[in-house]
């Protein structure tokens, strides 16, 4: 037994001193990008285990990558979901609509019509194919980059724009930052600005569905960067313990603002491999391959619905644009990354697949794109009639005090009266539409 306090920092023979390891991405601005180190397995090779298999049977898949579309644009292998051309065209159209929407609303922000916008360029397959593989009444707990799910479920574009413009028709009454939608009727949970909180919530919703003997499942999406939060691990633990009917997605788009995936642990193992430590099923998918995404979501949804428990799915993809309108990615990553990305563009890949099937053409694609641009334009023009941010066409002042609680306590009534009085002083001419 040692006597007294130990001596500190003694030399240990010829052992070298300890060193801190700090991850550093391969490419910075101006660097030539070469992704040849990135393993991209050929499509169609992986076996598709039975949906009710023991979780451990899926673990090899967490280190590999489910891919369906091959280099010749054919859908191959056991994971091919075998969708009919009509469904494929709908998938393509929804993905393209999502991109057209992003492009236009991004420009709206640049034109000063709102404060903020976030695109999901390059990630459209993930939200759209997942939405299509889910039942319409399954519950989605999204992050801020799954606008494709809302669009896929037929949420009115004009209401999305109303929310983005924070105007008097904004379903969320101008309270939330643009794109932080909430759409209960479309099974789309209120988006939080605080990362990762939706993950344990999805598990709780799924547990509730199980408690009530329902047939609906829940699904949640999180960025790879956000998977570092404790909420991710809380969700995984609860999902495993209660065998919850939930499908948990990590969207690995390589970047979290300026931090590459190495700061969430990607240099050590895959995100899908986290499933192994919790003893739940896991899949790793080519996130730019809409058919692989669809197949994985379908597999996991069937598994959850059959009381076989949760699945963690990693979608390997690339954030093709800046984090948001507040971000300039040229300050921290090489612009070449996007061009060199080995998994291509999800819309182009699905388009080429349909063309290879003889079910689509470049001309049809161009006509569709024009149509979608017009469709979005109509929606934005319609929304603009309800106002844009900062031009006075907002919800009535009193709404600011509503929904803090179910009923307004005295102090909020007083504060509401104060707000109205202040407006009267600052804008004596002002008339608010439905204000008493």
């Amino acid at each position: 037994m040692a006597e007294g306090p130990v001596e500190k920092g003694i030399a240990r023979g010829n052992l070298p001193p300890l060193e801190l390891y700090v991850p550093e991405p391969k490419y910075r601005p101006g660097d030539v990008v070469d992704y040849s180190h990135l393993p991209v397995p050929p499509a169609g090779l992986l076996a598709r285990p039975d949906e009710t298999c023991p979780a451990s049977e899926t673990w090899p898949l967490t280190l590999d990558m489910v891919r369906v579309l091959d280099d010749d644009d054919h859908a191959v292998g056991a994971w091919n979901p075998g969708l009919d051309p009509e469904t494929l065209r709908r998938m393509l159209r929804t993905m393209a609509l999502t991109r057209a929407f992003d492009d236009r609303l991004y420009r709206s922000q640049r034109q000063g019509k709102t404060s903020f916008y976030m695109k999901c360029t390059g990630e459209e397959a993930i939200s759209v194919a997942c939405a299509m593989a889910l039942a319409g009444d399954d519950m989605v707990f999204p992050s801020y980059r799954q606008q494709g799910i809302l669009i896929s479920r037929g949420y009115p574009l004009v209401d999305m724009v109303n929310q983005i413009y924070s105007n008097r028709a904004d379903p969320l009454k101008g309270r939330q930052l643009p794109i932080m939608y909430s759409a209960k009727d479309y099974g789309f949970f209120s988006i939080s600005g605080n990362l990762a909180t939706q993950f344990p919530q999805a598990v709780g919703w799924a547990m509730a569905s199980a408690i009530k003997g329902d047939t609906r499942i829940a699904t949640a999406f999180i960025g790879e960067g956000s998977s570092a939060e404790g909420d991710f691990h809380a969700a995984m633990t609860f999902a495993a313990v209660y065998n919850a009917p939930v499908v948990l997605h990590v969207v690995n788009n390589q970047w979290a603002i300026s931090s590459f995936s190495g700061f969430a642990g990607a240099e050590r193992t895959t995100f899908a491999a986290r499933a192994t430590g919790y003893g739940i099923a896991g899949l790793r998918v080519d996130g730019n391959d809409a058919l692989a995404v669809y197949a994985a979501m379908e597999w996991a949804a069937n598994r959850a619905r059959a009381n076989q428990g949760p699945t963690l799915i990693e979608h390997f993809t690339y954030r093709a644009e800046g984090h948001s309108t507040s971000d300039d990615p040229s300050a921290y990553r090489s612009a070449q990354e996007r061009e060199e990305w080995p998994l291509g563009d999800p819309i182009m890949r699905l388009k080429k697949h349909l063309i290879a099937l003889g079910e689509w053409s470049e001309e049809q694609q161009e006509a569709m794109d024009r149509e979608l641009v017009e469709q979005v334009k109509v929606a934005t023009k319609e929304a603009e009639k309800n106002g844009i941010l900062g031009h006075g066409m907002h919800h009535p002042f009193h709404t600011m005090f509503e929904d803090v609680f179910e009923e307004l306590p005295w102090h909020l009534e007083e504060q509401a009266a104060q707000a109205m009085r202040e407006r009267g002083i600052k804008w004596p001419e002002w008339k608010e539409r439905d204000d008493a």
């Binding site: 570092a228 603002i257 931090s259 919800h395 407006r423």
Partner: protein, 357 residues
Amino acid sequence: MPEETISKDNPLTDTGAGAPGRQMNMIEAINDALDIMMARDPDIVILGEDVGYFGGVFRATAGLQKKFGRNRVFDAPINECGIIGAAVGMAAYGLRPVPEIQFADYIYPGLDQLVSEAARMRYRSAGEFTSPITIRSPFGGGIFGGQTHSQSPEAMFTHVAGLKTIIPATPHDAKGLLIAAIEDNDPVMFFEPKRIYNGPFGGDYDKPSRTWKGHPGGEVPEGYYKIPLGKARIVREGEALTVLCYGTMVHVAEAVLADKGVDAEIIDLRSLVPLDIETVEKSVQKTGKCLVIHEATRTSGFGAELVTLVQERCFYHLEAPVERVTGFDTPYPHSLEWAYFPGPVRIGEAVDRLMKD
């Protein structure tokens, strides 16, 4: 450079003595303070989301990783519990971490490490372990950031025994206070009013924004200096009314009272805990009237503490009820941001009530 170039009585005008000033915005002043301190003390490390190569989403740590290496300035996983918990561990080893929480709104996942651990470490180990950690975090609204990029949660931290809470209102003070915070041997919350990073803000959102150019608080002395924690700044001496405020609201108060032509004594508290009670008392005893202003929500805000202290200590000098102007008790709204913000109209009404007779 002498250690104390700033006199507690008139810190702004005193800096010229041997310390040439340089025009800086608040981000530059913070960056300068970090730079100087990292060069002086090899135990200082900076960690936080996006603080490394990129230099932070507000660029407060720009250039520091390049200068001091990845061993001392590094990105962190997106995990505020980990950021603060790791800082506690590093401090236990003997380092002096200066973590950044990207927005004050995102500190909540780290609260257990902060409240139960960092704040009580000295007490529970009878001084064996301490947490000399300075947590920097942008806070406050006025940038259309919605409810998760606008909050002013400072009162929560003042409620925790063992935490100091500092809020600068000028680039000059940001630098001097940050240096003092980093040298402090206890955990310090250093909240940066992001609305005034680039320039003072008088509360009129419909007027063009200003830069720090030409503002005396934008003159920042070169090199090392500190402003002691717990010392308020008298922004303007006056006889008619004492105004207690901090952060962005200092500039709004200044503008409103100048506009109203009231001879107010405006006090920028700079430090909520420890509080410069002496300066507060002296002023209220002189003016007999007191207005407290903060952007944070009203109920249990720091204003409640200030009003109580004034009542306890200056009751027989008061000629009018103490007034409190604050944000409303709602989440920070997006489209109605300026209806929420305690701007010139709300402050003006309170001043009028106080100056009635």
